[in-house]
């Protein structure tokens, strides 16, 4: 009965191997079919697993083999599918399948078609490992693997040096976070003697004394460091916008729907520890909120359509961390789900637009596309409304749940969150208006080529649009007459206590009204600014007002990192290279060599070739030896 579980990650791996080996030999249609079908079958199996969990109410645990065994410490290669990972499985395989389908159309003319599908399948494989692992070590394999695939796919067009640099940046930043995760695993092994989720969580309450807080704070902080790297939070968020160098389906799959939510999944999974470390949850909430505001501010002025979406993703991830920090695990996870729908939709829609205008990404050169690309326009409109938090679209419910918990936690943070939601609404509609309304601002040739995308592209858009619209139904709050299906579903994991909090004492309807009102105000402002006044962001060469310039240049964060981290590091490296390595170590080694040569040149003169002298010296030597043996 449980034997099919291992097939779920194995299928994408098989797809990777077939596509990877046959990338030049197989016809494109076959590669696309294999790449998509394996995901589709995995999706079917995931549904089966989901239904099984639903019917039994118990997690499925499968031990594939014992991987590491040292004394009492074992690391099994085991899978765990419970309520949390079952939903993740559905998202990964479901959204993943749609994006594979989309890629067939999107990447059709690319020379690296086979390679692309191989990487995508590999990514899905690692992502499934990440969510299915029943211990932190298996999770870490997936964690590292998705980082690798992210690197490979961001640098997919590696002949462009900028893209390759973006890939390196993403990889290095992820490594920083991974190190935190790794140390956290080591600490868990040290304190709990186990890496398995169940055992670790069972042992957490058993810790005694003052140490418990420190240990848990340390572990959770390190886990959070890992999450900031993978999920692009302050201070490690700058790689995500640059990651847009990859093909658009990659941005949708990896950098919006799945990989970047791994950090949220990991923290939600480890919530037992986070619950007992209030210091860390505070930090998580503050960092999440700060990231949300900061990224939203940057997104306000970006002109590259994918950059807007990238910063929007960072901002939404900030929301999710805010939710985790304030204890709204269900809300955060809910937002993960809805975000996966609408952000994947928006990215794919953006990809469709880019496809239509022959690779142009600058919104200043778009406009008026809604007539030419009706399906893309309507689906993107759905996504935009959803992310802006306007009811009854999905984003409203998930965002509202987080905000409601935040209000309970701290009203100030709540208001900052609402302002951020306002920003979100503004920049998303700004993007939509700039792209689809007004007059086309590109070249004639581009205008001539404008066309709606083929069915492989539009079908995923439509499916995702439907999901974005109705995804909120998963967890309609009780106050609006819903029955909070997701909350009940996740109860075995997160417990009732945390979730039941927002029943009394909070003016929930009022809060909803505030956030919806804010979103609508922003919408109207964007409409006035970009449609009525037809305002277009200025060209790069022109002067901008100070605040706009700050935002447009991403608050000079990259330059700041460059100055305070990279340049000192470079300087130290140069110092070590030139002084320690060149002069110190090389000097020592070369000095030994040349010293031997030089002293040999001197000593060589002793070798006169005069036999008499040699014998004389020999006799002296013998005398010395005899005297020595005589005396001692």
């Amino acid at each position: 009965m449980n034997n099919y579980l291992w097939l779920i990650p194995l299928l994408p791996l098989a797809g990777f191997i077939i596509n990877g080996l046959g990338r030049n030999a197989l016809p494109k249609n076959l590669i696309g079919a294999i790449g998509s079908l394996v995901i589709l079958v995995a999706f079917g199996l995931s549904v089966e697993a989901f239904l099984q969990v639903q019917s039994t109410g118990h997690p499925i645990e499968v031990n594939i083999f014992t991987w590491i065994k040292v004394g009492n410490f074992t690391v099994p290669f085991a899978f765990l599918v419970d309520q949390l990972s079952a939903i993740m499985l559905l998202i990964i395989t479901g959204v993943g399948f749609l994006i594979h389908l989309y890629s067939i159309g999107y990447m059709h003319d690319d020379a690296g078609f086979g390679k692309f599908f191989a990487y995508l399948n590999l990514f899905v494989f690692f992502m499934l490992l990440l969510v299915m692992g029943s211990n932190y070590v298996v999770m870490f394999i997936g964690w590292e693997g998705v980082g690798l695939c992210s690197y490979l796919l961001i640098g997919f067009w590696f002949t462009n040096a900028d893209y390759a640099d973006a890939a390196k940046k993403a990889f290095v930043m992820n490594r920083i976070g991974d190190l935190g995760f790794l140390i956290a695993i080591f600490l868990m092994i040290h304190y709990f003697d186990s890496v398995s989720f169940n055992e670790v969580f069972a042992k957490v309450p058993g810790l005694h004394g003052a140490k418990v807080t420190h240990v848990l704070t340390l572990i959770t902080m390190l886990l959070f460091v890992g999450a900031t790297g993978k999920s692009a939070q302050i201070p490690l968020f700058t790689w995500l916008p640059d990651a847009m160098a990859g093909p658009t389906p990659v941005s949708a799959l990896i950098h919006a729907a799945t990989m970047v939510t791994a950090g949220i999944y990991m923290i939600a999974r480890s919530h037992v520890m986070f619950d007992l470390a209030p210091f860390t949850t505070n930090i998580v909430a503050i960092i999440g909120l700060a990231t949300a505001v900061f990224a939203a501010l940057i997104a306000l002025t970006q002109t590259d359509i994918k950059k807007v979406l990238a910063y929007s993703t960072v901002s939404q991830l900030g929301y999710m961390f805010l939710g985790l920090g304030v204890g709204a695990y269900t809300g955060s996870f809910f937002h993960v789900i809805t975000h996966a729908f609408f952000k994947a939709l928006l990215f794919l829609g953006a990809g469709s637009v880019i496809h239509a205008v022959s690779g142009e990404q600058d919104m200043r050169k778009m406009g008026g596309l809604y007539k030419k690309l009706p399906i893309t326009f309507w689906t993107m409109l759905m996504g935009t409304i959803a992310i802006s938090g306007i009811p009854p679209f999905s984003g409203f419910f998930s965002k509202d749940e987080i905000l409601a918990h935040t209000y309970q936690y701290s009203p100030i943070m709540y208001y900052i969150g609402v302002i951020t939601a306002m920003f979100t609404s503004f920049y998303m509609f700004r993007m939509l208006f700039l792209t689809f309304f007004g007059k086309f601002r590109g070249t004639h040739e581009q205008e001539h080529h404008l066309h709606e995308s083929p069915a492989t592209i539009t079908i995923p858009l439509i499916v995702l649009a439907i999901l974005s619209v109705f995804g909120g139904a998963l967890n309609i709050p009780a106050i609006l007459g819903g029955h909070e299906w997701l909350a009940h579903w996740l109860t075995p994991l997160f417990g009732e206590a945390k979730e039941g909090g927002h029943e009394g004492g909070i003016p929930e309807m009022g809060l909803m009204a505030i956030s919806v009102g804010a979103a609508v105000i922003a919408l109207v402002y964007a409409y006035i600014k970009y449609i009525s006044k037809a305002d277009i962001p200025v060209a790069d060469t022109e002067e901008r007002p100070l605040l706009t310039a700050l935002s447009y240049h991403k608050f000079y964060i990259d330059e700041l990192y460059d100055t305070i981290i990279r340049k000192p590091l470079d300087a130290i490296s140069v110092f070590f290279y030139k002084v320690v390595d060149k002069m110190g170590i090389d000097g020592l080694v070369n000095g030994l060599g040349s010293g031997t040569v030089e002293s040999s040149k001197g000593l060589r003169l002793l070798q006169t070739g005069n036999v008499g002298f040699y014998i004389f010296m020999m006799v002296i030597g013998i005398i010395a030896v005899l005297v020595y043996s005589l005396k001692f």
Binding site: G612, F616, V619, I620, I622, I623, L626, L630
Partner: protein, 166 residues
């Protein structure tokens, strides 16, 4: 007893003459005399076999070889340019030091008991032959190989090089 000291004195005297004689031919002759005194020493120790061998091999064969070479090379008159006297002095001093340390070292281990011949037959041919062909059979055989190879080597070295002339 006094015989020993007299012969010992002669040994030292002739060996000094060997190294200080100007003419190499004289050196060879003094060396023969020195070896003769050694033969007497062997006789005194009742090592008859060694005495005979010393007499035949050293005085008869080796020294004749020396003389032969000397004459072959026409070195009968002193062609040696002579070392600087300081070098000679240094050599003598070094040798003296060696003597002192050598004696000192050997004195530490040796006893001053008189040498008493326990077994009168010890140095006789019959006795030595038994030892040689029992315990030392293998070294004895190997030494024959040594001598053979030395002979071949000597012939090869001393032969005029044919290739140079061809």
């Amino acid at each position: 007893m006094s015989t020993f000291y007299f012969i010992a004195f002669l040994s030292i005297f002739f060996s000094l003459l060997v190294i200080f004689a100007k003419n190499p031919v004289h050196s060879v002759l003094y060396l023969i005399l020195t070896f003769f005194t050694f033969t007497i020493h062997y006789v005194l120790l009742n090592a008859q076999f060694l005495a005979v061998v010393n007499f035949i091999v050293y005085m008869g064969a080796i020294m004749v070889l020396f003389l032969f070479v000397m004459m072959l090379l026409n070195l009968n008159k002193d062609a040696e340019p002579g070392k600087h006297y300081l070098v000679k002095l240094a050599g003598v001093i070094a040798g003296g030091c060696l003597l002192v340390t050598l004696v000192g070292t050997l004195k530490l281990t040796a006893k001053s008991d008189p040498v008493i011949l326990q077994n009168a037959n010890l140095g006789l041919v019959k006795n030595l032959g038994k030892v040689l062909f029992n315990e030392f059979l293998l070294p004895f055989e190997i030494s024959s190989v040594l001598l053979l190879s030395a002979m071949v080597g000597a012939v090869l070295l001393a032969k005029k090089e044919q290739r140079a002339t061809v």
